[in-house]
Amino acid sequence: MKNTIKNIAALFLIFIFSGSLANAQGWTVPNSAKKKQNPYEATSKNVSTGKKIYNLHCKSCHGDPTIANMLPLAPVAPTDLGAQNFLVQSDGEIYYKVNKGQGAMPTFEKTISDEDKWMVIAFLRSFDKNKKVKQQVAEVKNPEVTDVKLELNVNEANKTLLAKLSGVTKKGKRVGLQGIEMSFLVKRSFGYLDVSGEDPYTNEKGDVKVQFPADLPGDREGQVNMLVKVTDDDFYGKLEEARVVTLGVPTDPVNPLDERAMWGTRANAPIWIIVTFVGGVLAIWSVIFLVLFQMIKLPKLAKSKD
């Protein structure tokens, strides 16, 4: 008896699962949409931009591509977007699905710009084993280097930051590394604020110059915690430089409890309230006592009249 119930339950579960699977696969994309091609080339610049956007908008559910560490959602878990069976789809198909969404997958039609969506697709394509050869177009080729160094120069007068990325070639010569994206981050309470600007890629000398925002608050002395790093760890491993720089606008935090206000607790009550209240209480009690004293005097008055 128990077994039959178990069997029925199992069958029921299988039924539900197969239903949801069928649902996941039954994501029809119109043929016109399938034909769309990624208008952006799979340069390393675009791929790393795509990775950034992926980490912001996709990673929280889908996890890292090819790692399959997605959020275990039921009934349909998010797909590993770096898996080969996902990447067999055309660019247009992925683009359509990102736009429209289905079930727990939200639509990104208006939340991410078209350019950003294509960058993400370019990034995902970089995991595609079938297209790997094709995507090596228009990339800057840096020589093979060792001992990669990140140097940071801060110009406090102009509020500029100059980072230099260099490595030692096989011939023993230190050369600048070109076309590498850098991130200039300012530490805030709950995360890092990106102040890299539009084009934070190293030039042919390996330099990248960034203008620090003129109006970003720092602490009382204008100091901020700065973190400069190579955006993508995949190139040369983790390369970063953390430094306290005096580039922010000196800001004195205002303590709202410094002023007396109606909303303050007893300790912060406005003087006029304290004076009025205490005065009122004193006045009332003095009237009461006055009356009492007069009443005590009454019998004495009566005696003296006699």
């Binding site: 559910c61 990104f108 805030r188 709950f190 995360g191 890092y192 709202p256 303050g264 607790t265």
Partner: protein
């Protein structure tokens, strides 16, 4: 004769000693009985724990109790003072809210509230007959000119230096003046024994999370002040799956999105999206900013016919 009395007294002594030891044993075993009872209720869920001497043991989940290390005095003192140099603000992007209600359940979980009690509530809004309806999460606005703290007769609710408005259950007398004064209906009253009152009765009161909740007192949103102390975002902010919430420090002019973790300039976010505050005509100066529900990427799926849902 003499010996007998001494014998007697010894017997008496032993008796009373036995009783007192027995009583102590009973008292101390109450907790064990409680644990055993709890275990008897639902024996299924076992949790693996590593003991101090490195042994892996299986413990029933029902036997686990949250612990607080700091004494009450310390918690009250730092809770009243707040975090120096901070000025916390929240930004709620209405164009992204699709009524997932994850913020509400995370909040209720954190502050030990029942499902019908709200520190934060997602409301269905329609401003006029022919305007588009939208969802609006509504926590306490943590006003800079709070009407609620003005009316408290016992200094139980107060504003601290980082801008957060807190409530102290140790002082609250349950007069509910603050509930009447709040124009945003942000406060709730514990009419009955709170959820899991029995389970948390021995827990030290933490003013920054307002737990354990107490019957006959007022409770409200606290921006998860206990989490902020650990540099963590409030529960609702980190629980949102749709990127609705931004939270941060106005002194640093930066807010961080709870879903994507992206940090943006607060002033720019408000300026670019025409951010506003609720009922600014009252002069309450809220610390919760809203971005209008424009350009929404989904259809409104609420139920406006149900009068209960209308606000």
């Amino acid at each position: 004769m003499k010996e007998e009395t001494s014998n007697n007294s010894r017997r008496k002594f032993l008796k009373s000693f036995g009783i007192s030891v027995g009583a102590a044993g009973v008292v101390s075993s109450f907790s064990l009985i409680g644990a055993a009872k709890a275990a008897a209720k639902k024996p299924a869920e076992m949790v693996n724990l590593l003991t101090q001497d490195g042994q892996l043991v299986q413990v029933d989940k029902n036997q686990l109790r949250p612990t607080v290390n700091e004494p009450l005095d310390e918690l009250q003192k730092r809770g009243r003072e707040g975090i120096p140099g901070k000025s916390f603000v929240m930004v709620i992007d209405l164009s992204k809210c699709r009524n997932a209600r994850k913020c509400m359940s995370a909040c209720q979980n954190h502050h030990q509230l029942r499902a019908d009690q709200h520190h934060i509530n997602v409301l269905q809004m329609q401003d006029a007959d022919h305007t588009a309806p939208y969802f609006m999460p509504k926590p306490c606005q943590h006003c800079d000119n709070p009407p609620c703290t003005k009316v408290c007769p016992v200094d139980a609710t107060f504003k601290r230096q980082d801008g957060i408005v807190l409530i102290d259950n140790e002082r609250c007398i349950g007069c509910r003046f603050c509930i009447a004064a709040c124009p945003y209906s942000a406060r709730i009253f514990q009419w009955t024994e709170p959820k899991d009152a029995e389970k948390y009765k021995d827990l030290t009161y933490n003013i920054e999370a307002n737990v354990p909740q107490k019957k006959g007192t007022v409770s409200k949103c606290l921006f998860s002040a206990d989490r902020l102390r650990e540099d963590k975002l409030p529960s609702c902010v980190s629980a949102c799956p749709n990127g609705v919430y931004y939270f941060g420090d106005r002194n640093e002019d930066a807010v961080t999105n709870g879903t994507s973790g992206e940090t943006v300039r607060f002033s720019k976010l408000i300026e670019d999206n025409a951010g506003y505050t609720l009922m600014e005509e009252l002069g309450t100066k809220p610390r919760v900013y809203y971005l209008p529900p424009k350009n929404r990427a989904f259809e409104f799926n609420g139920d406006l016919l149900n009068e209960e849902n209308l606000h």
